[in-house]
Each structure stands twice: as structure tokens, then as C-alpha cells.
Symmetry: D2
Subunit: 339 residues, 4 copies
């Protein structure tokens, strides 16, 4: 941490800051520049709220230097973590790019059976589908619950696909962990810490979605909560962020791929469905994500999007998915990977 | 809802959309303009995901017309809801503006006793303070828990102030409801629906903070969840939104005050501490909020901000609070209200 | 400037950075912390692009310390600059808050005569109105040009109000300087540097609007361009920034008032019309701005907003303005100022 | 346009809106729904400011239906416009993806000769380089001006590359048009309308950069200004938008590629240098852009980025460029295009 003093800070004011730095258990290292004084603070104290020093007289700002997370960082591990999922133990984070597809919500056994067969046939490794749905409106369809989980488990049985499904509350963690292969934490719950700790105590991989306006630090600290609770198998999922742009549901910032690769060893999956909100944009964003180095994709796919119970506008059909897979494979190979 | 067709949509494509509109239980009303056709859809179906229609061929966009919330809206109730809080039964939403102050976190009985006395003396009506702290980092101070709640209850006993404190998980709802007067839902939990439903089943008023990039529709739908679960006493709290601006922790959009007043009957409280992130900005934003018509303020105040366990940078001292209260009263009177 | 090295940077890599620091004419001051090395750079070189050092191996980031502007900063001048405008030489930046009002565009001599009389009668000090209009669409009304300027000058003659009008291109600077009292630089032109330099060579005060997503540094650097060209009379104008929020045309961040006051001696004017985009929100934002310490307001006012050639949605009527002025005066007095 | 009335609007209030609609030369078509009335307005009047109707009593909002631009839209032309640039008349918008590279600023004849040779050798079709630099700070390097233009023209002579360079003011339009092949309008000038009109009167193709927080409508209206002035050869360039994200200089929203393709016939070029701000992110974003369907790339490339006069942090070296070109070609072929 660096404390930057305002121009004109007196010796006493600098000393007051130095005293505060000591109070926080850090060593001071003042530097007297041409225009102003800065106090570098030495020591690894990630847990204290040093921002408080900003309140001292004539302090202009506090500049943090250390990343606030540790176990998720490259300081701990250099190579990408590979996380095996589902019956096939496909390794997310390996050379092959894993494609996960399926509907927003589980609507019926027939719907899932149809989609799962198509998804498998197209060459995907995972099946997504929500049994518990966090809905913005209390009047929207809230999911099939436990019945939905059983339908998903049945589809896994039949196809060998890894089942990825969301857990929205503490009370469902056990059931979701029992019936599925990957526990998804949705964007709205990225900072619901009790839930992060609960999935951190299971032995199932966690797909952690980035909050809709979370910073990378906040995203990696959420992963740190899960790892810190005992579960190192965290898959990071970018699903777009909220910006001023209106032609998309969210803005999909693919530069998180190199940025996260520069900061963390955790594998990275992209969700171009929520990342755009419109089915017609999904294929090109899938191709772009793979070209940029994503370790996987998670895509909404519905046999009849015009009648989908949720997220119809952003769901592609099984036919579009099948055609897309061929191009995805070619792009993956062009960047020395494969599907 | 209005379905806008692309230019060149054929009669069959328009008919396909009309059929879909019927599938969703709505009546169609097509309008043939100079350049394009739009299909107005008539009927009150707030619960279905009509976005799916966007997937039909040659549909350009879907324009919603109805607000998605109902009980929180002015359609149901025109006058501002007054919500009585604490031992004094001060009415948030009445003519008087209610000021709530206190530290970010309960740190000790002494700290709270000191602050509570100052807050009471300054003329505030409520005491804030977190016993359970949702912290971005797993390594940060997480709050005193039940002991913190008891300390707050003791302060209420001594001062008559209403206690406002956050509940971050389902398992604490009962305890927080027992010891406090107002249950706060933090910004990070604004869309944690199980928690909204749980506080909706208590009989204590709820202070609902707007999520850090929530739209007004999402904010009011979160309120709707609580009301829908049985608790009509929801106080809306704006605490700033995330934007590209870096000189503040959050951007405080005071225009939500007239905008919410135009949409909802629920009372509106402003949090200029999180809304700016810097103590030196807090007094002017308090004055601005009252001038703009806020029903209350919630302000972080700490006897020794330089050593605060959390949010020190944005906490004002009791002395600054006392001086501010006098100006706040004058501004309130200038807009025909009072403290 | 501080150069932060990544963990594991070798001695040679640190030395390479130190050599670069010297190449840029700065002195190095390396600090060896527990986890990483940082190189503080000493010397006042605001003009070089030091970001280039980021490209050196094992550099994590560059942290600037000095503000990039100088003449606009408090380092040069502590007290607020007072800028006298118009025939009455009203001082923007003095104790009194100056209210400027008028239509978006000059539409006719009658329209301006009517508005100017109302604006004067209400107690305002300035008349706004666009003769040259920068319009988003080439098909929109582009202003009356020179005729519009003459109409405004005539209104000044009759009322004594200071005329504030926009200059959108180099070729109009002379004419606008001749006929008006304050040259407005619109938000879209905040970074059109040739124009900033041109108005910097006139002897008329400049009202500089903040760009719609400009940072405070960029805003103050635009002011610096004007001052650097020879014109110290720059009035800063906040008109709202672009965010994800949709219920407003722009989000009005009133915390710029304390933030700018903490950084610059230039006076601050708020534009709640563009800052909200909706007439019904304008009065409360005017009151809030004055409570927060604004030195002035610039408000769109039209006798018949429903038929205005531009910005009708955000224009208040003369009647609303008149009623508002009384409340504004009371709020100004409540914060120890006046109108 | 659709006018949405508030619930409870009276017959007279609806009639008042209908009268206004007529005043604006439109035909009315009222629809009486279950909860509220909407008035659809029929007629093609893109030039009037219909927002004014929002001011009428009991109007909730105005929903525009028509796109505000016309000549840039697909309504006028379905197939992608191909724009031939430079001595080689490479067609931007054709099957082949055109790569343009070069330094941010022209610094010397030697620098440009070196870069141009590398850029040509690597297989690019254009050379970028700024002779006139719009700089945020008045103290930064402002470019070599006319000498810089001559250096670029010399490089074209030697390599056959198309020269792309920025024009920042009216007074340089002629010179830039004389010496270069493509006139670049920078992001800061996207809404400087006099300049758009001036380049619209030249016969050189224009590369129009999207403003840093422009909407797609504003972007396409800026293109419309140029086309409307007589120049149909507009290349759209996305260079990232400003968001809350801090790990990048700008957020690069690659979903503009399918979104623009859905709205306009103009070709699309991506600038991953400004779109990220960091050299290490540039290669993956180049690959992603080509996979997503970009018609071209414009990339900053400098032989010695650590000493670049500007934008050093985001410039890749000629060596990185050369290695990248091979991968780009493979990705282009994977999506049925080529370099």
C-alpha cells in the first residue's frame, strides 16, 4: 500500500500517517518527491481495512499494491488448474475446450431428454439446465425444484453428459450436490458469502459466475471464499457485465480471458447467451471466445425458443448448435486446441 | 407489450407472431405503419417471458409497456407509505426527515455506547451498525454476530433510537428480527430471493438497499418480493451505483428520488456514505439528498474513523454529524419539511 | 509515478525498469517489500507517456501520483476563482449562486423575447439559448446561426441578462464571442482540442461542459487547454454522465461538487436539464445542486415545451421556474449563500 | 413512435396527445389496453424532436420505433459495402480480412520506415500512424503535423501499404486527404459534426471510430452525417467503450460485430489496442475479432514500445505481429474467410 499525501502536508501530518501505518502493523517507508510525499507501507496484511488512513489530515489517496486474493492467484500456482467434470471426467482447463449446452430452465422430462440427446450428439461435454431459478420477478416461473434435478440426473444417465445446475440457497446445496456434477453459483449470488462457503464445503466442482458489475478483484475474492472453505475446484464463468449499452442484455468483455489468465490459475468458461441476450449474436461470440482462449463455453439451447419458459430470446436451437460445433472445432484447432 | 417487426416482414411472418401472442394468452392488435408493422399485445400477463417472441423470424424487438411490479407501484396506492420505526415510532415517509447514523460495524460495547449517545444527542432517530458483515474478502473482519446484536439492543434501551442492522443469511433472520427494529438487506443481497422472502415473513420493517447496478425495475421487483411475502413495510435505500467514475466508491444518483416518487409509494432513504466512499463528500450529499426530497438518510459515523474496522474512509465523526444536523434542519425547512 | 513489479521479478528486470525511468528523466527510488518490488519515480514530468514502461518485462502496473493538470489545480490557487459575466458582471464563484435559464435552441425573436423577460423577472442572471446546435442526427434542426446570435444580443440589451451560447466550430468563435457573454463548449466537444485552444484565445469567459463519460482528470485537462491558451476564466459545468441507468437521459453525479472543490479553484455550475432529461426531475435536482454547494445552475426553460424544436422533454416552463426560484433562494440561504 | 399514457389518463388527456401527434405531422392510432392507453404514431418523420410530447400531462414515456438513420441502414442496402483502400485497392468488407498496423504516432522517418517494412512483410494491407495527435493533456506530444504526413506518404511509396491517419481539425482535412488513403476520425471527434461534414466532402474513404460511450444509434448517425455530405465510403471502427472495468483502458464489446451487421451495410474494423490498452491482451482480442466476423483490424505496433512517444503500453512489437498473422490467417480460414 502507498499513502499519497497532498501537496503541502506538514512534517507532523506525515508523521501522523506513519504512526497510523504502525498501528496497522506495517512498516513505513516515506519518499519525499519534488511535489509531494508518499508513504510506502511494507508488510502483508490483506485483512485490515487500510482505507481508514484516508481519513487522516492531508492524505490524498491510498493506492493498494498487493492483490487481495491469494489462493486463486498465480503467486500460488502457475499452470492452469484442470477440473474434471461428470461421468466422462472431461478436464476443463486442459487442451480441449469443453462445450456445455442446454435450456435455461428444466421444463419437463421430455424437453430435457430431447435437448440432452441433441447436445450429446453435437459433441458437447455438459448439459446445463436450471431446476431452481432466481427470477427478477416474484411472478415468474421459479423452476421445477427437486423434480427438475431428478430429470437432469436421468439425462446424465442416458447420455453421459456432466450436469451443471444452479444452487440458489443454502437449503438446496445438498440436493444439488447429490444430483448434479457441477454446482453453479449465479451472477446475482456471486457475493452471497454464506452460499459460497456452503458450496466450498462440498466435493463437487463449482462454476462461479461473475456478478453483473463485479470487478476482477471481487470475482477472484468470491473464488477465494470457496477455495478457503475447502473446495479448490472453481471454474470462473464470465457472463457479461452491465454497461450503458442497450443493444445487448449485457456487454461481453472477452478481454477478461487474457486478464484472468494473467492473474489466476483457475479455468475460464464464457457464457455468450447471457453475455449478449440475443440468439443471433451467440454463434459469433462463441467463436470469438474460443479464439481468445476460453477453456469452455456454456450456451443456452432450447428445442422451441419461441415458447421457452425463460430466456427464450437468447436460446439457440439444437440445429444452430450442431452447425456451430463444426466451426468451433476449426477455430479451436486454429489456436492449437481442439473440442 | 409491443412487438416491432423488421421492415420487409411478410404477412405470414406477422401472422406467426400473432399466433405466438395468442399462445401467451394475449390479444393482438397489429398496426401497419409506413415503414414497418408493429403488433401491440393487450392483456395483463406480467409473469410470462414474452422475450421469447423475439426469436420469431423478422422480429426486431419487443417493447414492454407495463411496469413489471404491481404492489410497489402507484397503481395500487397514491400517497407515500409511512413506516413507523423503533421505540419512538418515528414515521419514515412523513413530513419529518429521519436521520439514521452509526458505525459500519459493531466493534465493542463501548464504541456503540459512545456513538449511540452522540447520535441521539445530535437529533437522529435511528442507530445503524452491522453485527453480521458481508465482506468482499474472506480475510476481512466478519462482524461480532449475536454479541453485536445484543450490544445494539442495549443501546436502544439506553437511547430510544431505532436499531437498523443488516441480515445476510436466512439463518440469522429470527435473531436480527428479535433484537433490532429495522432489518437491512444489503446491496449485494438485493436479488437473493430466499432472503427477501424470509424477511417478508417477519413483522419488522425492511430497509432494502438498491443493488450496485440494479435498474429501478429490478429494485422495485425486489421490494415486490418482500411485499408479496406478506410484509408491506419496505423502505427503499439508494446507496450509489457502479459507473466508470473513479473519484468515488459509487456514483450517487439523486435523481432516483423524483424517479421513484413517480413510480412507487414506498419511502426513500439515501446513504451518502456508500454513495460516495469518502467522508469529506458526505455532508454535501446529505444536504443535497434532503433538498431533493429524501424521506431519510443513513450515514456512517465513527468516533475514530482512522482506526475503524471497516469503512473508515467514508465515516464521519460525531462532531461533523452534530454540525451537519443543524444545516440539514435548515435545508429541510427550506423545502417545507423538518428533521 | 510508481512502477509495481510482479512477484518474482529478477534483479535484472528491476534494473531494466530503473534504466527506463532514467531514460524518461526521472530519479528512481526502489522499495523492496515482502512480496514485491516497487520503483517510485521522482520528478515532475507531466508531459511524457510513462505508460510505455508497462511494456517492460515483469511490470504489473504503473500508478500515477501527480495530477496531470496544474493551472486548474489547487496547487496554484487555493480560493475559488470568481468570474464576472454579462452586463451586470455577476460573479460566478462568489457567495451568490447564479441561475442561468433559457431554451435549448433559439427558435424565433418572439420566443426569446418572451423567455428572456420571464427569466429576468424570475431573478436569474443569465440567458441560455443555442444559435448553433450540434445535433446527433443530420436531419434535426441545426439552429438559426448568426440570426440566432443577434436575437440573443437583442434580449441582453433589453434585460441586462448575460448571454450564454454554444460555439461548435472554429469558424464561429469570433461571431459568438462578439454577440455573447459566455462561450459554451458542449459535452461532445470537450475534447475537441482545436476549439478549446480557439476559445482560450478570446477574452470571454468559457462555460466548459463535462464530456458525457469524461473522467475528472480529462475534464480538468480540457480546462487546462483553455487556460494554457491564455484564458483563465473557465466555468466548469457538470451535465450528467452516461451510465447503465435508463430512467434518465444522463446520471447526474452531484458528488462532483465536493470532488472538484477538492481539486480545483474553478467555479462549478450544474445543468440538471441534460443531467436528467425529464422536466419533472429538474426542480428537485436544482435544489439538490444548490444544497450541495454549486456556484450556479443552467436550466432549460421554454414557454411551450410540447412544441419545442429540441429538448422539449427536459424543459421546464417559465411558471415552474418562477416557483422554483423562491425555494432555491431558501435552500441557498440554508447553506449560507443566496441567489 | 409509441406514446405510452400513465394509468388513469383521461379521455381529454389522450385527445391532447393525439392533437400533439397531429401537430408533428403524424397520424394517430390509439390502442386502449386493459391497464393503459398507448397512442401509436404513424409516419416517417425522423427529423422532429418528438420527445417533447413527453411533457404532455399523463404521458409516461415515448418509445421510438424507427431507426434514426437511413442511408447507413439495411433498409437501403442489404449486402456489405466493400471499400477499396490504398494503392493495392484492398477491399475492406470483402472476403479477406484486412489488417492495418503501425505506431500510434509518427515519431521519425526512420521509425516509420522500419515499422512499415515489418508491417508489409507480415502481410498487412495498411499502415496506421498519427501525424496530428489529439492528446488529453496540453503538455503531451502533439504529433509531427505535415512532416509526419509526408513521412507516411513516403512509406506508402516504398511498400504499397494504404496509409490510414487521423484528421483532428477542419484546417487539416485537405492535407490529410492529399497525403493519405483513409481519413481517420478519432473517438473524441465522433460527434464533431463540422468535421464529419468536411470529410464527407472529400473523395477518400473514412475510418470512423466509435465514441468512447456512443450508442450504436449515435455511431450510425455519425456515419450518416458523412454519407449525407456525399461520401458513402465509411468504415466503422470499434475501439472499446468506457465502463466501470479498471483492468482495461476500454471494454471491447465484440458483440457489436453481429449487432452492426444486423443494422448496417458498412464494413466493420476492430481496434484491439485502444480496446484493451495493454499489449499482452492484443493478440487474443485480434483472434477473437476475426472469429467474430470483423472485416478488418487496426493494431498499434511499435519497434520499441518502451520508448514510444504515446500509447506504448498498448503497442505490440513487429515480432509479435508477425507471429500473430499466422494464427489470424488460420482463424480467418476457420470461419470461411482469409487474410
Amino acid at each position: 500500500m502507498i499513502v499519497v499525501m497532498k501537496p503541502g502536508a506538514t512534517k507532523e501530518q506525515v508523521q501522523h500517517v506513519i504512526d497510523l501505518v504502525h498501528d496497522y502493523g506495517l512498516k513505513d517507508h516515506p519518499i519525499y518527491g519534488t511535489d509531494r510525499t508518499v508513504v510506502a507501507c511494507i508488510g502483508d496484511k490483506r485483512s485490515v481495512d487500510k482505507g481508514a488512513i484516508e481519513n487522516a489530515p492531508m492524505v490524498e489517496k491510498i493506492v493498494p499494491i498487493l492483490a487481495p486474493y491469494k489462493m486463486a492467484s498465480l503467486e500460488v500456482k502457475k499452470e492452469v488448474t484442470q477440473i474434471a467434470i461428470g461421468p466422462g471426467q472431461f478436464k476443463i482447463g486442459g487442451t480441449k475446450v469443453g462445450i456445455i449446452a442446454g435450456p435455461c430452465a428444466v421444463e419437463s422430462a421430455e424437453q430435457i431428454a430431447t435437448v440432452a440427446a441433441s447436445v450429446k450428439e453435437a459433441g458437447c461435454v455438459g448439459l446445463r439446465g436450471g431446476a431452481y431459478k432466481p427470477r427478477t420477478s416474484p411472478y415468474s416461473f421459479q423452476g421445477m425444484g427437486l423434480d427438475g434435478l431428478k430429470i437432469l440426473a436421468q439425462a446424465r444417465e442416458e447420455t453421459g453428459l456432466a450436469v451443471v445446475t444452479e444452487v440458489i440457497g443454502l437449503e438446496q446445496v445438498d440436493a444439488v450436490a447429490e444430483y448434479s456434477d457441477v454446482l453453479q453459483i449465479g451472477a446475482r449470488n456471486m457475493q452471497h458469502y454464506p452460499l459460497l462457503e456452503a458450496v466450498g464445503k462440498t466435493n463437487k466442482p463449482v462454476l462461479l459466475k461473475r456478478g453483473m458489475s463485479a470487478t476482477l478483484d471481487e470475482f477472484l475474492l468470491a473464488a477465494e471464499y470457496i477455495i478457503n472453505a475447502g473446495n479448490p475446484n472453481v471454474i470462473l464463468c464470465e457472463r457479461g457485465v452491465r454497461t450503458y449499452e442497450k443493444y445487448v442484455r449485457n456487454t461481453l468483455p472477452l478481454s477478461v480471458i487474457p486478464a484472468l489468465r494473467d492473474r489466476t490459475h483457475l479455468p475460464i468458461v464464457i457464457d455468450p447467451s447471457h453475455g449478449t441476450g440475443h440468439a443471433y449474436m451467440v454463434p459469433s461470440m462463441c467463436l470469438a471466445a474460443v479464439a481468445a482462449g476460453a477453456d469452455g463455453l456454456i450456451v443456452e439451447c432450447h428445442p422451441d425458443p419461441e415458447h421457452a419458459a425463460s430466456d427464450g430470446a437468447q436460446s439457440i436451437t439444437p440445429q444452430v448448435l450442431t452447425e456451430l460445433m463444426d466451426k468451433l472445432r476449426r477455430v479451436a484447432q486454429a489456436v492449437d486446441r481442439d473440442l
